[in-house]
Amino acid sequence: MAADERGGQQHANRDKQEVEETETEAGSDLKERQEKLSEDVDSMLDEIDEVLEANSEDFVRGFVQKGGQ
């Protein structure tokens, strides 16, 4: 009975350890992914900078539409 309990405990500990390891891996994966994502966004912004209309304030103010459907 006691051995069973201990065995159960050990099993639970091992599970916990595995979960922690997986979480750490997931954490660094996530960090890596976020870094890559942010680099990706930065390069996209550089591309957009090249084509954005000059003088954004005037440009946006000048976009006036009549209503439609």
Binding site: V41, V51, L52, G62, V64, Q65, G67, G68, Q69
Partner: protein, 503 residues
């Protein structure tokens, strides 16, 4: 029982002459349409045939008296504004103060994307052509829905439905779907409120412009469910559901899912498959609240007291649709229906777990990612004109200036079509609807087509005293299968009319 049904899109494009906000919108819209028409090199330009149009008929069963209608509702009075019927079966014309592209009728959401995208190409080409006229200032066109100063213009969808389906069933089952589908097909907007007075980002371009639940209007007091009942087909058999609540989308997956999921829900309504009542408490207010929360946490309260997010509400529809297709089609399900269902499910589950992973698929997420990037890099607030410019320029139709167009060309968006396919759809009609007959006639007999519309082609042929009107009331007739051989062997319109009247 699938995503297949007759459908189409109509988009009013934003239009402006940079540096000249006072430019006459009707005039420059006409210049756009006329420039494209001139480039088609047709000696004769077919008129639009208004005979079967009745924009004041209400799906609830009464006609609005003409003298009580607002002038903007009288779309069947030919004001002499530019109007062309294209060889791809589409209509390119001036509606109110915007150039509008109405796609030809197609049979499924994938084709809807192809011919909707062809419209973007046509607008870009029209703008290039217009700029070639000496002394003309460049005219910019935008596939968006608001100027952020109080004006909105539409991007509508049309779905052919069985007349026998009670309109009340449509209203009850479709309203919660329309309140929530923006999380999938919103185009994203910088600015909150009709005039953009409050600062912030919201999911939908159009949401703030909707003020009532059901109604006939499209330009004022816009309703979530529009009751215009003008089927352009046999009214005994069909109604055309005129959907005015969508945003103008650029991302192909957004357009595809917008049309595909709506078609699935309509099929469930027609077959009375919807088992749970998902009616939303205060739908108009909820529509605005959902749009204003890009974190997707806003709760929607149903009339039965249940609370859930808009994504979860969409999941309810998606789950029912999955069961519906499984029940009706099983393993016989077609590829497009299967694909729409799988993508819908995948998009919703990612919207719940990690929305930013959808930046290659959905317009609002793509736009939001760019805007958040600018905010972080340049420390900009939501009232920054630079962020407003990003929002506007995202929808610029020019391949070299439009942010969507540039990013898509660099492989930053997932696509379901190819450039070749879209380029072909610019000049060629779909092959499986009456648009095929219309498009082929416009291409082959241009000089003999006096007028045309969704449900007719009118010929002016030598040797006949009166004009010859060929009705095309059934949208599923006049397909390649039905009329290709006939058109191929009719050298002239006269031959065609003779074959039709004698056959």
């Amino acid at each position: 029982m699938s995503v297949w049904r007759i459908m189409g899109t109509e988009t009013e494009y934003g239009i402006s002459v940079p540096g000249n906000p006072g430019a006459n919108a009707m005039l420059i819209s006409s210049q756009i349409v006329n420039s494209y028409a001139a480039a088609m090199h047709r000696a004769r330009r077919a008129r639009w045939d208004f005979e079967e149009e009745n924009p004041l008929r209400d799906a609830r069963g009464f006609d609005l008296a003409r003298d009580v209608a607002d002038a903007s509702q009288l779309t069947d009075e030919d004001a002499g504004l530019a109007n062309v019927i294209l060889t791809n079966g589409a209509r390119l014309y001036v509606d109110h103060a915007h150039p509008e592209y109405s796609s030809p009728e197609v049979t499924n959401p994938r084709d809807a994307v192809v011919w909707d995208k062809a419209g973007e190409w046509i607008m870009a080409e029209a703008s290039r052509r217009a700029a070639e006229i000496p002394g003309t200032a460049p005219i910019n066109l935008y596939k968006n829905n608001t100027d952020n100063k109080g004006a909105s213009y539409g991007s509508h969808e049309n779905y052919l439905m069985q007349r026998t389906t009670p309109f009340a069933d449509i209203v009850r089952n479709l309203t919660p779907f329309f309140v929530s589908r923006q999380v999938v097909c919103g185009a994203g907007r910088v600015g909150v409120g009709q005039d953009g007075r409050a600062h912030g980002f919201q999911i939908s371009q159009r949401a703030d412009f909707f003020e009532v639940e059901v109604g006939l209007e499209t330009t004022l007091k816009r309703p979530i469910i529009n009751t215009r009942d003008e089927p352009h087909a046999d009214p005994e058999r069909y109604r055309r559901l005129h959907v005015i609540i969508g945003d103008a989308n650029l991302a192909e997956i957004s357009v595809y899912l917008k049309m595909g999921t709506t078609a699935l829900v309509l099929a469930m309504i027609e077959e009375r498959f919807m088992s749970t009542d998902l009616s939303v408490d205060q739908p108009v207010r909820t529509l605005h609240q959902v749009s204003h929360d890009p974190t997707l946490r806003q709760l929607v309260t149903l009339r039965n007291g249940r609370k859930l997010t808009a994504v979860q509400l969409q999941m309810e529809y998606c789950e029912q649709a999955r069961k519906f297709v499984e029940d009706r089609l099983g393993s016989d399900v077609d590829d497009v229906t299967k694909d729409v269902l799988e993508r819908w499910e995948s998009v919703l589950s990612r919207l719940e777990s990690d929305p930013m992973t959808l930046s290659r698929e959905l317009d609002w997420v793509a736009k939001y990612e760019i805007l958040l990037g600018y905010r972080k890099r340049d420390g900009l607030d939501w009232d920054s004109s630079r962020l407003q410019l990003v929002d506007l320029q995202y929808s610029d139709v020019r391949p070299e200036k439009g942010l969507y167009q540039r990013l898509a060309a660099r492989g930053r968006f997932e696509r379901i079509t190819s450039d070749e396919e879209i380029r072909r759809a610019v000049d060629h009609p779909p092959e499986d609807t009456r648009a095929y007959f219309r498009g082929r006639c416009l291409d082959k007999y241009a000089d003999s087509v006096a007028a045309a519309s969704w449900d007719s082609v009118i010929f002016d042929v030598p040797g006949r005293e009166s004009l010859q009107r060929v009705p095309t009331l059934e949208p599923t007739r006049g397909t390649k299968q039905h009329v290709q051989a006939l058109i191929d062997r009719s050298r002239t319109a006269e031959d065609l009319v003779r074959a039709l009247t004698e056959g």
